[in-house]
């Protein structure tokens, strides 16, 4: 009887460990399928606009920081609980994208990346967030 209990406890521990490890493993995101109109989309504000470090920073901190981290390194407190990697905004691969591609990924989203069209209503504010992330390059 004691042996059976020991085996049951051991088996349960192995299953729990395996499930935990599987849930902690993050897969890189699938390639984004971005509509053409977004790829060539033009910003409604200029680079260097004062709103980037005002509204852009404020909105990034409110909506993005919890997952993507203060510097966009993907190390926010909620990042570890995501199934998909939250990426690195300072990386060359991220910064090589067009403004419109970053806009689509940030504002329209998909899957675990929420849609922010209802939370950031103003078009200029959305672009201020995009440019704020542009400033995170290494």
């Amino acid at each position: 009887m004691k042996k059976s209990i020991k085996q049951l406890v051991l088996l349960s521990s192995v299953i729990a460990f395996t499930v935990t490890m599987m849930s902690m493993t993050q897969k890189p995101g699938e390639p984004w399928n971005i509509p053409a109109k977004y790829k060539t989309m033009k910003s409604t504000i200029k680079a260097g606009d004062a709103s980037i470090n005002a509204e852009g920073k404020e909105l990034y901190n409110k909506h993005c920081k919890a997952c993507h981290g203060a510097k966009g390194l993907g190390d926010g407190p909620k990042a570890a609980s995501m199934k998909t990697s939250t990426g690195d905004f300072s990386s060359k691969a991220f910064q090589a994208q067009t403004d419109g591609e970053i806009y689509y990924q940030s504002i329209v989203g998909r899957g675990e990346m929420p849609n922010f069209e209802k939370k950031i209503l103003d078009e200029n504010d959305r672009w201020a967030v995009v440019y704020y992330m542009r400033n995170m390059k290494k």
């Binding site: 005002a54 509204e55 920073k57 404020e58 901190n61 409110k62 909506h63 920081k65 919890a66 929420p114 849609n115 209802k118 939370k119 209503l121 103003d122 200029n124 504010d125």
Partner: protein, 303 residues
């Protein structure tokens, strides 16, 4: 026609005057600094992070098709000290609410509160929205709370009618976001109760509320508010309005706001949660031990 205003009321009127004067000055300064022709007017970012500030409504309305769940909890007053862990073990009050934004400037809500089994229906409408160009320097909001007391019929005696349960709170909220750190609102209100169970209460009450936010980090703010019932002899049913002994609801606390949540942790003096109940019945004196711990949590879902 003797009118007796409380000191608090006068202070709040001064704040209101400051708000209007400052708004006009800011508008002039920023308009002069913008030589280009105005394009499409852009609404200013909301003055407050949430549509709720302690027990009060703010001018903030979430974007259309957003559902907001609200949990408001008020512990007992701290005047019994450590014997009831500063009110945490004392009888508490709680309200659960749901608000839904039909339009970007129109919200309706319902809620239920433990004290008096109060049910409430709320409507909030932004008549004017502050703009970034300051062509409109203030946000002006109309706010109405209809309360339905769910107590047993016997509470009102043999002449009970359903209308006895009804109370109304009507408010005009004037708010301004001065900059990314500081926002202020002033809100005169009129409260009416159809019936009371004692004669020593008025059916009508005018009050002035004020609230402010000082944002000190990306997600954290110090928030303060005060609801000041005005003791006005000319609308009072009492021979001497001072016997009403109304106490203001003063709150000070910490707000943490994220993309989908707002949290308020604070000390305040009123426990009734619903604004007309606080205005009409609060007897806790913030400066004489009548303070309690309050908590608010809001959660947003967009559709």
């Amino acid at each position: 026609m003797k009118k007796i205003f409380t000191t608090y009321g006068m202070m709040t009127l001064l704040i209101a005057s400051f708000l209007f004067t400052s708004a006009t000055l800011f508008a002039q300064e920023e308009t002069e600094a913008t030589p280009e022709e105005p394009q499409k007017e852009r609404p200013a970012r909301p003055a407050f992070e949430s549509g709720l500030l302690f027990d009060n409504a703010t001018s903030t309305i979430q974007p259309s098709k957003t559902l907001e769940m609200i949990i408001q909890h008020r512990f007992g007053t701290m005047d019994n000290g450590v014997s009831d862990l500063f009110g945490i073990w004392a009888p508490s009050n709680i309200r659960l609410g749901l608000n839904f934004s039909i339009l970007n400037n129109l919200m309706i809500g319902v809620g239920t509160t433990k004290y008096n089994k109060m049910q409430d229906i709320q409507i909030k409408y932004n008549v004017l929205q502050q703009t970034r160009s300051n062509s409109i320097p203030l946000t002006i909001t109309l706010y109405e709370v209809i309360g339905i007391d769910g107590s047993a019929d016997e509470k009102w005696g043999p002449d009970y009618k359903f209308s006895n349960r009804m109370s109304y709170f009507s408010q005009v909220i004037l708010s301004r976001r001065f900059n990314d750190m500081f926002s202020l609102q002033v809100a005169p209100s009129f409260t009416h109760y159809n019936a009371h169970i004692v004669d020593t209460l008025d059916h009508d009450r005018i009050a002035i509320s004020a609230a402010a936010r000082f944002k000190f980090s990306p997600q954290s703010s110090i928030i303060v508010s005060g609801d000041f019932p005005l003791e006005i002899q000319s609308i009072s049913e009492q021979h001497d309005v001072t016997i009403l002994d109304s106490k203001p609801n003063i709150c000070i606390g910490w707000e943490v706001s994220t993309s989908t949540h707002a949290f308020h942790m604070y000390i305040g003096s009123a426990q009734n949660i619903i604004p007309q109940e606080n205005i009409m019945f609060n007897k806790n004196d913030f400066f004489d031990g009548g303070i309690l711990i309050g908590l608010n949590v809001t959660r947003l879902w967009s559709f």
